[in-house]
């Protein structure tokens, strides 16, 4: 099942960003052309978080020993052994990832069915992701967000995922045509929603 996990615009080209889904650590990264990847946030060499790394020439590079991984998740260079033809078995562990409606959606390899059908195809733009110090189930119950992890409310798309057992994240997107005033208002409402959820 696909889960919204971040705003598309929060993963800039040429950067890596951390995310967690139910405690599973994920690195989201884009190459210089904007192609998005989602992998387990763990270097196969020494277990370092790849989200601490950096993107160079289309490869995600581990900060620890500089192992470089290309978009296919294969390790292509081990700096300590520059002449080595790196075996194809050395690779990061990818998740399925898509971008839709201004959000990044991920699914693990065994559970990647069709992307959810949203109410319409209005071009959307992410507004804000914000953490809620409440378990996902509690937030879902209070907001009416279903198992799919999203709801369409008052012209805004609200995504939800559980980062860990105690913390959730809301992801908001508005139509690209939304005015600056509408975006500011929705942002204020989102902050108020978060505070209300935590106070409940």
């Amino acid at each position: 099942m696909w889960t919204p996990i971040a705003l598309s615009e929060d993963v800039a080209a040429g950067t890596a960003a951390p995310a967690r889904l139910g405690g599973a650590e994920i690195v989201l990264w884009r190459d210089g052309d904007g192609l998005l990847q989602a992998w387990e946030d763990r270097c196969p060499h020494r277990g370092m978080r790849l989200s601490f790394g950096f993107v160079r020439e289309g490869r995600l590079t581990c900060l620890y020993h500089g192992w470089q991984f290309d978009a296919s998740a294969r390790c292509r260079l081990i700096p300590a052994h520059p002449e080595l033809k790196v075996p194809g078995t050395i690779r990061a562990n990818p998740w399925h990832v898509r971008e839709r409606a201004g959000l990044v959606w991920v699914a693990d390899a065994a559970d990647a069915d069709a992307l959810p059908t949203l109410p319409d195809d209005t071009p959307m733009r992410g507004l804000r992701s914000l953490a809620v110090r409440r378990p996902r189930a509690a937030v879902a119950a209070q907001t009416g967000i279903g198992a799919g992890g999203w709801i369409w409310r008052d012209g805004a798309l609200i995504g939800l995922h559980g980062a860990d057992d105690a913390t959730s994240m809301l992801h908001l997107a508005l139509p690209q045509s939304a005015t600056a005033e509408a975006r500011r208002r929705t942002m204020g409402e989102a902050t108020a929603l978060r505070d209300a959820l935590e106070a409940a």
Binding site: A6, D10, A17, P18, R20, L130, M187
Partner: protein, 196 residues
């Protein structure tokens, strides 16, 4: 883009600081980004008492006061601009409290359970402010140019994982960290890499 190298002369201000202290780092970072020459002496006392800047024969204590003094010598007037809505003062409080919590965590040898909750309390207003600023088209607390408020808040933002507040929960803060890291002259400290 690289920053002009700051000239360290015999009359340059002297920082008495400690390499692993986030407040001493704030001063070094501020001087580097402002383009102000700074000599520095290792002084372990700064770990607890905070850094001291010796400038024109006078000792200046308190990170905010030190940065204010350095900003007088900065080439770009943006550094001396006070951030709107009292954010310089708020950032100073965040920085000081964070530093105290971090010292306690590091001294304990492992993160204390309660520190994450207090880190949330400290950094949430920062995250909210930075999200609003981003929506308004500004990368920093006061606008498009970093100022003292940003320097004061930066170590708390960048080292929040020391208090078990992971960066995946604070995307606006992450964006802020990236923006300051990309500023010409950026310096590192243990736990804050520079690779952009």
């Amino acid at each position: 883009m690289t920053a002009p190298a700051a000239l360290v002369t015999d009359t340059a201000p002297v920082l008495r600081g400690w390499g692993l202290d986030d407040r001493s780092y704030t001063v070094r970072l501020g001087a580097a980004l402002m383009g102000v020459g700074l000599a520095w002496l290792t002084d372990r006392r700064a770990e607890v008492q905070g850094p001291v800047l010796v400038r024109h024969g006078r000792d200046i204590v308190g990170v905010r006061a030190i940065l204010r003094a350095l900003a007088d010598d900065a080439l770009h007037p943006g550094w001396a601009e006070p951030a709107a809505e009292g954010w310089e003062e708020r950032a100073a409080v965040i920085g000081e409290r964070f530093s105290t919590l971090r010292r306690a965590c590091l001294a304990a040898g492992r993160p204390e359970t309660g520190s994450a909750a207090e880190a949330w309390t400290l950094l949430r207003p920062l995250e909210d402010r930075l999200a609003e600023q981003h929506e308004a088209g500004a990368a920093f607390l006061g606008g498009a140019h970093p100022a003292i408020a940003d320097l004061l808040a930066f170590p708390a933002a960048a080292l929040s994982h020391d208090l078990r507040l992971p960066h995946d929960l604070v995307p606006a803060t992450r964006r802020f960290i990236r923006a300051l890291r990309a500023w010409p002259g950026f310096l590192t400290m243990p736990g804050i890499a520079h690779y952009q």
